[in-house]
């Protein structure tokens, strides 16, 4: 098993968990993402673009909400209850991140947690690279404002 596949599994799982906030469902969706990804042989030999993997995961998360939780709005906010044991600094940052709009949260996840490049994020989110950079700066600015009392300089 290649190292990159293990690594991508974790990243897609993290992404799905961010979208659905449920460990079991996130893992189901992650596995379904990989099965779908490899079921289309046209991309395999030259390596599929990473964006395609995320697009599948994103669509599966949307489908999941459409089929199972029609009345419930897609909730992408970060839960803070399950991380009560985390250090205080991280809790503050979590709370700060959870106040950001969901698209900015998703950007932060893709850029800093999943360590994707700006152009990859642009493909996944269907926006320009310039727009990604602008939104990242905006997210940083907002976080800085919220966390002004904390020592992050």
């Amino acid at each position: 098993m290649s190292v990159s596949l293990q690594d991508q599994y974790d990243k897609i799982y993290r992404y799905c968990y961010f979208k659905v906030n449920n460990k079991e469902i996130a893992e189901d969706l992650t596995q379904e993402t990989f099965l779908k990804y490899f079921s289309q042989t046209s991309y395999i030999n030259r390596g599929k673009p990473l964006a395609y993997l995320y697009t599948i995961a994103k669509n599966l998360c949307v489908d999941y909400y459409r089929n199972n939780n029609k009345e419930k709005k897609l909730d992408t906010e970060i839960l803070v209850n399950d991380t009560i044991s985390k250090v205080e600094t991280n809790l503050t940052v979590r709370q700060a991140v959870s106040t950001l709009p969901k698209d900015l949260q998703e950007l932060l996840l893709l850029r800093y947690a999943n360590e994707l490049k700006v152009n990859e994020i642009a493909s996944i989110m269907g926006i320009s690279r310039f727009s990604v950079s602008r939104k990242l700066n905006k997210a940083y600015g907002e976080l800085k404002t919220i966390l002004k009392e904390e020592d992050f300089s």
């Binding site: 599994y9 993290r14 460990k23 996130a26 990989f34 490899f38 395999i44 947690a113 976080l143």
Partner: protein, 243 residues
Amino acid sequence: MRHKLKREVKLTFEAPTPARKESFLCQFDYPRASQFDFIKAQLGYIRKRVWILSLLLFIVTLFELHFYGVSTSFVRIMSSVLPFISLISISEITRSVTHNMEELEMSCKHNFLEIFFIRAGILGTANLIFLLSILFLLVGKTDFGFFRLGLFLTTPYLLNCYISLIVLNCLKSRDVTYICGIVTAFVSISNVLITIQINDIYTEKYWTLWITSFIVLAILSVIELVKLIKKMEEFKWNSSLTV
């Protein structure tokens, strides 16, 4: 974004450990690229100038053959030109060795040795096709038989391969291609000078010398090639220690 904040943001998105990851990945039989696809992909990575130069030499040979006919001097010229074909192939292999491709292999599906073998195989096959084509074109038009003609043409080629492989094994810098170029020029010019100096070099008198030279050079080239492969395996081991 400041480093500390980036780290904290990363931690913010931490998800619980996936419970079924290992079992899924162990059972997951994902499709892999076939060996043919791998060779096809490597074919694309060989620089266009390798094919263009090889083709150019072949066209020039055909041109000369058509307009000037075949003579002993033509065989002399051809045997002096052939080392340049091997130089083109050596320069392509040198590129892989000197640019530290082995350091990338840890994150790749195929290791450096596999890639090296495939590339060397592709280039070797192309050279063989080139050589056989020339041989078949020349064979009826000279007094030499197929094997003798093959011997006259390939011995300087093998000499060039052998010295170039020694250079490749001893040095590991970007100047290797230039040194191999000097070697090729030396082999080619020496071949011209020797064959002009010794008029009857293509006669029965020197038949044993040609056969012996060919066999010795072929064995020495294989030995150098084995050394190069072993050297690559050492690189692989060294790289694995640094991971």
